[in-house]
Amino acid sequence: MKKIGLLCLALVLVLGSLGIGYAMWFDEIIIEGPVDTGALILGFEEGSLYPVRDTEVPPPDQYPANWDWETAIGIGPFVKLDKNVGWITWGLKDEKGVHGLYKLYGTAEITLHNVYPGYSTEITVWIANGGSIPLIINQILLNGLEISPGEHVVLDYMELIWGNALGEQLEPCDSREVSFRLRILQPGDYPGVPGAQQGETYTFTIEIHGIQWNEA
């Protein structure tokens, strides 16, 4: 028994001496893992918002380039009228990034002034992916209700056709045009729809949602 104790003591001492050896020689490697996340930015391109029909020039100017346009019920071909009565103002706000040389904005504001039944226009704007993650346009909402390209929507005072972009993918730095057409309603154009009333102010909101491409 005494011999076993001595053997154990010897083993501990030998292992201890080996341990000293290990403690003196050492090395290590470090794996660093910085994580830079990308950004998902959908915005309107600076200078890209404008009405295809009509201008920002109010009456009494009657230069033909500023004359109004109209279209038939249901929104068909546009016909130029012979007067400048209504006019449009527009602008981008809520800056949210850059896309190349252009600033990007989150909100496009459009105001149609002094319009009347039959008055029609088409609004166009470019949206761009100003982030580093591909995105997909997954939802377009008009006054909170989902709409799809080519869908004809009738509100109380106007009808509108949204043009495009739903389901499309924008790679980083991609941009594309989106547009919609609208026509102010005459009372009686559609059964049960009041039509535009005189001297009123109406508002509408179109939201374009982009989502990271791998979650769409």
């Binding site: 915005g43 209504g86 459009i110 002094n114 609004i123 982030g131 005189q198 109406y202 909101t205």
Partner: protein, 215 residues
């Protein structure tokens, strides 16, 4: 106990998947639109008429024209004789929004002035949307041959745009903001006994139709 555990596990997994969906990166742009509509508005702002007096001092017939702004009183553009007897007279009253009632009283055969007794209404286009003008006359109780018209259309700078004597010529005339139309109704009583003690009504309905929807 084991079942409850499974349910809890399923719940956790479901909520987890929901969490993953909510956590997706999204971004939104907004098009904010405002539509301000214009208006069509025809407003009667003034009436005019004729009164006929007999000057009791001279015996002469005195022809006096009056003007009455809506909401105001009747004012003569030429003063009646100091000692005059009012024989035939016309009055106007704004009886309802956009409605004027003009009365012809105690008329007699008379061809002075415009060829009879005249009253007129001055109508102002106060809307912001151009319109085509349309007038529809209706005459009851008296022969239509007693009634004739004279009209003037004025530009917004008060210069004369056009004039005529047929109401049908007014159909389709375009009125822009601030233009005015004066329509005179002339009643000529013929020199006939049958014309005495007659009573009738003349109604003119004036419509403005937005120019891009006319006809």
């Amino acid at each position: 106990m084991k079942k409850i555990g499974l349910i809890c596990l399923a719940l956790v997994l479901t909520l987890g998947t929901l969490g993953a969906a909510y956590a997706a990166w999204i971004d939104t742009v907004v098009i904010s639109g405002t539509v301000q509509t214009g208006s069509l508005d025809l407003v009667v702002i003034r009436t005019n008429g004729d009164d006929v007096f007999k000057d009791l001092d001279t015996g002469a017939l005195v022809y006096c024209h009056w003007i009455q702004d809506v909401g105001g009183g009747k004012q003569y553009s030429t003063p009646p004789p100091a000692n005059g007897l009012l024989v035939a007279h016309t009055t106007s009253e704004l009886t309802a929004d956009d409605q004027v009632t003009i009365s012809y009283n105690n008329l007699f055969p008379f061809t002075g002035g415009w060829g009879g007794f005249i009253t007129s209404a001055l109508i102002h286009a106060q809307g912001s949307v151009p319109m085509h003008f349309k007038v529809t006359p209706s005459i009851t109780g008296i022969p239509a041959s007693w009634v004739s018209y004279i009209w003037f259309v004025y530009n917004s700078d008060e210069s004369l745009h056009s004039t005529g004597s047929l109401l049908s010529d007014l159909d389709g005339v375009q009125l822009h903001h601030c233009m005015k139309v004066s329509i005179g109704i002339i009643v000529t009583v013929p020199q006939e006994d049958e014309a005495m003690n007659q009573s009738g009504t003349i109604t003119l309905t004036l419509e403005g139709i937005q120019w891009n929807e006319y006809p």
